[in-house]
């Protein structure tokens, strides 16, 4: 949730070749450079994935206190038989490396333990929560990226003028918003007072959820040709997306402004002007294309901040996603539940960064074609 200064200073996992190798330097030719690049990125991702499991494993096992009690809850932990069975199942009487391998084996089989709060396997709980959260996150990213691109580009073009100052203050204020508070206040105002948005949850109680295809209600309703359901699902998304967008727009705008400024100062934009292209043409074809790579990097980072945001915001809207689940788990000290969320979000984040790398390769011919 830090303000990214430049892509050099705060960067999501893995170093992308974002230094933008100057096109002038010739590089040695390799066979299918994109594939090689992706394989390297994939390797890094897998290593980090393992790292993520090591972190969660270490946290569950090395922290002060009794991990068995933490995993089973105080009630069950007072029963010696349950404890013995648990210890045996997870190999807790074995040395740590063996324990880790057991842990990893269980993870691979999708066993994240049993939630103390819901009593169900964590995996089952998360399976329904993940799409709910992704629906908010994806929509928020799309909305914020559009808004921030317009704001950031306008600010860059109007550099130093009033518009630029206003955009700067707006984005700084957006970054300073405690999202969980904004969620509460806007829920109070727009739902309880004005009644302009529907209340909590993903859907009005009288409607039945669409048949699951993607798990994203809006998409599933559309696939099912159900207009009423789609509108209702979208209406429920409005407020959470609005709240999270304010923060994300703040994060993205400053960065996009800087990237666009950099591109505006480049020779190729001046050359495009010298060619007599129309200003609109130059913005879309030259400027935004040139800024797309750094923007992509920051979108990856923003997505991480967004996942953090959903954890704090969802519970206010009783949105049945990872955030509400994490909130309840944290409130009940449901350690398996919390670890499950941590692990899953870590995986999602890594997956997303891999996608960002992939897009990076596709957008930059210097990576794609070497």
């Amino acid at each position: 949730m830090t303000l990214p200064r430049t892509q050099k200073t705060s960067r999501a996992p893995g170093e992308r070749p974002a230094g933008d190798p100057p096109a002038g330097r010739s590089r040695p030719r390799r066979t299918s450079p994109l594939l090689g690049y992706l394989l390297r990125r994939l390797g890094t991702s897998v290593l980090l994935l393992l790292g993520v499991t090591i972190v969660t494993f270490a946290l569950t096992n090395l922290v002060p206190g009794n991990p068995v009690a933490a995993a089973l809850g105080e009630g069950a932990a007072s029963n010696p038989e349950t404890v013995a069975a648990y210890v045996k199942r997870y190999g807790l009487d074995q040395p740590l490396p063996v324990q880790y391998l057991t842990y990893l084996g269980n993870l691979l089989q999708g066993d994240l333990g049993r939630s103390l709060a819901t009593g169900r396997p964590v995996t089952t709980d998360l399976a329904t929560a993940i799409p709910a959260t992704l629906e908010i996150a994806v929509l928020t990213i799309i909305v914020s990226l559009l808004v921030a691109t317009v704001l950031g580009t306008v600010a860059a073009y109007r550099r130093g003028m009033v518009t630029d100052q206003v955009v700067r203050v707006v984005s700084l204020v957006g970054l300073s918003l405690p999202t969980f508070w904004l969620a509460l206040v806007s829920f109070n105002f727009f739902f309880l007072q004005l009644r302009v948005v529907p209340g909590s949850g993903r859907l009005t109680a009288t409607l039945t959820p669409p048949p699951t295809v993607t798990g994203l209600f809006t998409v599933d309703f559309l696939l099912n040709g159900d207009g009423v359901g789609f509108v209702d699902a979208l209406a429920h998304l409005t407020l959470p997306v609005f709240v999270l967008s304010l923060f994300t727009v703040g994060l993205l705008t400053r960065f996009i402004r800087t990237s666009v400024l950099e591109v505006l100062g480049s020779d190729y934009v001046r050359a495009a002007r010298a060619k007599g292209l129309s200003p609109m043409r130059i913005v879309f074809d030259y400027v935004l294309r040139g800024a797309s790579l750094p923007i992509l990097t920051i979108v990856g980072i923003a997505f991480g901040a967004l996942l953090s945001g959903t954890v704090l915001v969802e519970s206010v809207f009783a949105w049945p996603g990872l955030g509400t689940y994490a909130y309840n788990a944290a409130r009940n000290l449901d350690l398996p539940g919390i670890m499950g969320v941590g692990l899953v979000v870590g995986f999602i984040y890594l997956g997303l960064n891999f996608i960002v790398d992939l897009l990076y390769g596709l957008l930059d011919p210097r990576v794609r074609l070497a």
């Binding site: 972190v55 405690p178 508070w181």
Partner: protein, 321 residues
């Protein structure tokens, strides 16, 4: 650049200038409206944080008023909560919890991060490899998520929340410091120092440290806001301050149980917003002063500099000045 020369700001950041016109002038950074607003608000909150116990009308934990009083009634300026505690007193006392802890945790993160980053950058090779892979690991999670997991494992308490926040905050300093040190290590004056027989420590402290302070200070200034958001967020999740501590995040959380009493949640959030905003204003102004590429020309100062697009044109004209 012509424009730079004409502008009073100094790209090396804060520095007290010589008195001019008989008055001591503040460094350029602190003369921008944004920085002034930020500094005033931040200063006010810091004063509140340290003096609140002396002047708040009620002890923050005292349940001595009617419950759920709306603001302005019976001498409770901001009303009372579900336990009949004076919200104004709790709000002001809350500053004393969040602000000092956030400042401390940022300071700790800076120390840990810069030491690790500097070691990695300076010694290179396997030291670098090991330290940076560890750093990568911590950056593989979104911050709040990792902090949540760590805080939950350690057990819910304000102290543990601070530890968790440090755990997620230091890696960015390590990254930045490492890349700066890597850049500086090859500079001639550093090499010259080493040839003169300076020890690695002396080389780091005397030759390299002065040049990484600027960027690290900017990062830290911007990070204070994040730290406050993180800490209050963890308390909102119930993993930070425990009842009855008056803490902004947990106060907002308690408002979830009383949706009708809008005032319970509104004011603590405004408190967080204003403090974080103040530090972000300061941080952003510092960054502006330090990093010419993100500098925003102050329209108010009357110096309208050329857009960056034309820097090239100006560059060609600057040399003959």
């Amino acid at each position: 650049m012509t424009a730079t020369a004409a502008r009073p700001s100094n790209s090396r950041g804060p520095r007290v200038r010589a008195p001019r016109g008989g008055r001591l002038r503040l460094p350029a950074v602190w003369r921008t409206p944004l920085a002034i607003v930020g500094a005033v608000i931040a200063l006010a909150w810091v004063v509140v944080a340290f003096t609140a116990p002396l002047w708040v009308p009620y002890p923050p934990d005292a349940q001595m008023l009617p419950r759920l009083l709306p603001p302005g009634t019976d001498g409770a300026i901001l009303g009372t909560d579900a336990l009949g505690r004076d919200l104004f007193s709790r709000l002001m006392s809350g500053a004393g919890v969040t602000i000092p802890l956030s400042l401390m945790l940022v300071a700790a993160s800076v120390v840990i991060g810069t030491v690790i980053g500097a070691s990695a950058g300076y010694f290179g090779k396997w030291v670098d490899e090991v330290l940076m892979r560890i750093t990568d690991l911590f950056m593989a999670f979104p911050t709040v998520i990792l902090a949540m997991v760590v805080a939950a494992s350690l057990g819910p308490s304000l102290f543990n929340a601070v530890i968790a926040a440090i755990v997620v905050s230091w890696p960015q300093y390590a990254r930045v410091t490492r890349s700066l040190v890597l850049g500086l290590r090859g500079q001639n004056y550093v090499i010259a120092g080493r040839l003169l027989g300076h020890s690695p420590l002396r080389s780091l402290l005397a030759d390299i440290a002065p040049n990484i302070t600027g960027p690290v200070v900017v990062l830290a200034a911007l990070d204070i806001g994040s730290a406050i958001l993180l800490l209050s967020g963890l308390s909102f999740l119930g993993l930070g301050a425990q009842p009855p501590t008056a803490e902004w995040g947990s106060m907002i959380s308690s408002a979830l149980q009383n949706f009708d009493a809008w005032w319970i949640g509104l004011f603590p959030g405004l408190a967080i917003l204003t403090v974080v905003m103040a530090f972000n204003f300061i941080g952003d102004s510092l960054r502006d002063a330090l990093d010419p590429s993100s500098r925003t020309e102050r329209a108010a100062s009357g110096v309208v500099a050329a857009p960056k697009t034309e820097d090239e044109a100006l560059k060609g004209t600057g040399a003959s000045a």
